[in-house]
Amino acid sequence: MDKAQLRLSVENSSNLPTLPTIVQKIIEMVDSSETTGRQLGAELSKDQVLSAKVLKLVNSGFYGFSEPITVISHAVTMLGFDTVKSLVLSSSVLDLMDQALPGLWDHSLACARTCNIIAVHLELPDAEEVSTIGLLHDLGKVILYQSMETEFQQVRRRVDKLDMLFCEAEEIVLGANHGEIGGWLLEKWTLPANLVAPIIDHHDFRPNRDHAARTALLHLADILCRAEGFGNGGDRKIPRLQASALEVLELTMEDVRIIMNQMHDDLTNIKRVP
């Protein structure tokens, strides 16, 4: 199977959780320039299960809001349309994380919070959106599990037998990794490139590509979560940190130490896995 075929089979997979009518309506609203936050909140509130899921994600702790957000229109105002849209779209996939790989939810949550810590350290204005990228970065692993069970099991066996990185095994079995696979679905959902590109490239950071700073941030956050052992991404290895990622972010190893110390202090309710 070449990459184009693989992409088609991901995009057309019937095993992926379907998007209910309300989700399609919400996508249309988000994509329309005339929609207000209030209208979007009102539409979301019509589906209690969906709004409960979104609020649960919003209050999972990685956005760093001091007070819990209980009203959906408030969440829309605080997070922005694109973030709410990505949470709405991915909520059914996120439910399957631990089913796909035990510990993947904790790893994703840790990565979201680490993205937030780094964004705040760098004084970036869009910490919420960056956190969301961290939450969704391994979406491709769930998609693989859902829509390509045979290949998923082949990847897992290779990881176990040869003690390699999940993304290395994916490249061998599929010729693509979960970053690209997750990205294809997010692109199909018409999420913006500054949200999708970092996810596609988080195992293949190149400083000269578009959205390099965000990609560098995600690449660093993922590696630091693995270093600290928060949750489990499906393998027992750590990808190498690209020195150029630190250069793009203008971070020194002393900054990395401060960030890791803060992860250790803040992420007390996320399990470290032996």
């Binding site: 052992g229 940190l241 190893m253 890791m260 250790h264 007390t268």
Partner: protein
Amino acid sequence: MRQISVDEAQVGDVIASPVENDQGRVLLPNGAKLSAAVLSRLKGWGVETLTVEGEDAAEGGETQGEELVEALEQRFAGLEDDSLMMQIKQIARSHLS
């Protein structure tokens, strides 16, 4: 979760069972994280024991610590030539002791 005396409590411990005063008023809710300020006031409130989140040491907390260190060594095996990764390993290691 584990029960500890106030003297054992540390900044960052997370409350796993609400702390109440004699009148039943909740002083610290579930999930509250102990700050240095709160920690210094606990005794003044007459609190003697706390239930906090985390493994009980007697339930193998120490063994788990050793397992975590071993897992860390395994994760970083093969990266000895990479000075950035070795520095990250050092920092992560310092969080396990």
